[in-house]
Point group: C2
Chain length 219, copies 2
Amino acid sequence: MRAMVDSEAPSTTRSRERTRRKLLDAAAQVFAEVGLDAASVEAVCDRAGFTRGAFYSNFESKDELFLELSGIVANERVEAVRSRVGELESVGGFDTQPANAFAIIEQVLDVSADDRLSVLLMSEIRIRALRNPDLAAAYLQQEAEMQRGVAQIVTDIGRAKGIEFRVSSDEAARIMLLVWEGAAVRAAMSGVEADELRRRTSTELALVAQLTIHDPQRP
Amino acid sequence: MRAMVDSEAPSTTRSRERTRRKLLDAAAQVFAEVGLDAASVEAVCDRAGFTRGAFYSNFESKDELFLELSGIVANERVEAVRSRVGELESVGGFDTQPANAFAIIEQVLDVSADDRLSVLLMSEIRIRALRNPDLAAAYLQQEAEMQRGVAQIVTDIGRAKGIEFRVSSDEAARIMLLVWEGAAVRAAMSGVEADELRRRTSTELALVAQLTIHDPQRP
DNA sequence: TGTATCCGATACATAGTTGTATCGTAAAAC
DNA sequence: GTTTTACGATACAACTATGTATCGGATACA
C-alpha cells in the first residue's frame, strides 16, 4: 500500500535517500573546489564518508550526478526568488527608504550568490553550460525565470514608491543580474569573507539600481 | 653576436619558437573547447601536429603552459585596449553621433570577447583564477588595467561631446565591463554566430552606456 | 663531405581513475 | 527466528594520462 503512495521508486529506503543527499552535498563542495573534471568520484565519496560502491549504487556516473545537482541548484535559486517575490507581493508595503529601496532586490538576489562556494559552483555550472547545448538551454531558462522575478520586484517597487525608470523592468532586471553575478565573482576572486563579499555585490547593485531610476528632481 | 641581440635564450632556434607558438595556439583551442582539466597533453599535441615529445621539450607541464598562455592573452587584451585608447587620444576628434558615441567603447571592448573561442578561453581563465590566488591577482590586475583604459575613453567622450555622467568614469567603466562580459557569455551560450554574438553584446552595452549618461533635456 | 648539435618522435614505466562484479551485513518481511 | 532483500564495501580488470629516457633525423657548421 505504501508503495502506491510514493510517486517514483517505492522500494527506496529513507536511508538511501540520505545517502544520495550526502553524496550530492559532498559533490557540490568538491565540484566547487576543484571543478567537475578534476573531481574524482572517489574524492566525492571520501567527502561524503562513503566508498565508491555507494556512489555507483546511487548514480550512473559523475556526469549524471552533476546533471541532477545542477537541476537542484537551479530549482532552489528560482524557488527562493519566487518565494521572496510572493512574500513581498502579499505584504504589499515597502517600508524601506526610497534611497535604498533596492535593498529588497539585494535580498532577493542574495539567495543566488551569498558565499564563495555558491559562486564557484555556479561558475562551474555556467562553464559547463557554455560547452553543452542542453545544459545551456536549462541554464538560460532558469536565468530567465529569475529575471522575471526580479523584474516583478522592480515593477512593484516602482509602483509603490512612484519611481520612474529609464529602462523597462526587464532590462533593468537583466542588467542587475549580470552586474550582480560579475561583482560576486570578482569579490570571490579577491578572497574576501562571506559578509564582505555580500557587501561588495550589494554596493555594485545599488549603483546600478540608482542608474535605472529616473529622478526628475535630482538627476 | 646575434646571441647578444636576443634578449632571453640565444640558443632557441626560430623553428623552436614556431613550435612553441603552435603548441600555445593549439592549447588555447583545446582548453577553450573542453577545459584545462579535460584537455590531455596529447590532445593539445595532436591539434598542433606534434607528439608529446615536442611538448615536454618546450614546457614543464600543462599547468606551466596554461600560465604562459594566460599571460599572453592578458597582455594582448590590455595592449589592444591601450593601443585603441592611444589612437583615439591622438586623433582627438570623435566624429560619431552623440547617440552612439559609445560605439567607440564597443570597438575597444571588441578586442576582448569577439568570438566564441575567446569567451570560452576567458571563462576558463576566470574560473581558474577563482581557485588560485596567484592567478586571481593577475586576473584582477589585468582587468583593472582594462578598466582604466575604458574609463579614459569615457572621460574623453564626455569631454568631447559635452556629456555629463551620472557616475564616475571608473564606475561607468566597471559596470560596462561586467555587463559586456556577462552578455558575451550568454550570447555564446545561445550558440549564436560571431557577428550575432557581437550584435547582442553591443546592444547590451549601448543600454548601459545610455544609463550612465545624464541628459538634462530628455532624461 | 663529415661531424656535432638540437629538437621532436618513440618507447616505457608508473600512477590514477573508472566501472563492474562480488561479497558481507543490516534491516525488512513473513 | 528465519529468510530474503537491499545497500554499501571490497576487489579487480581495463583504460588513460603523465613524465622520462632514449632514439633518429635534420640542420648548422667546419
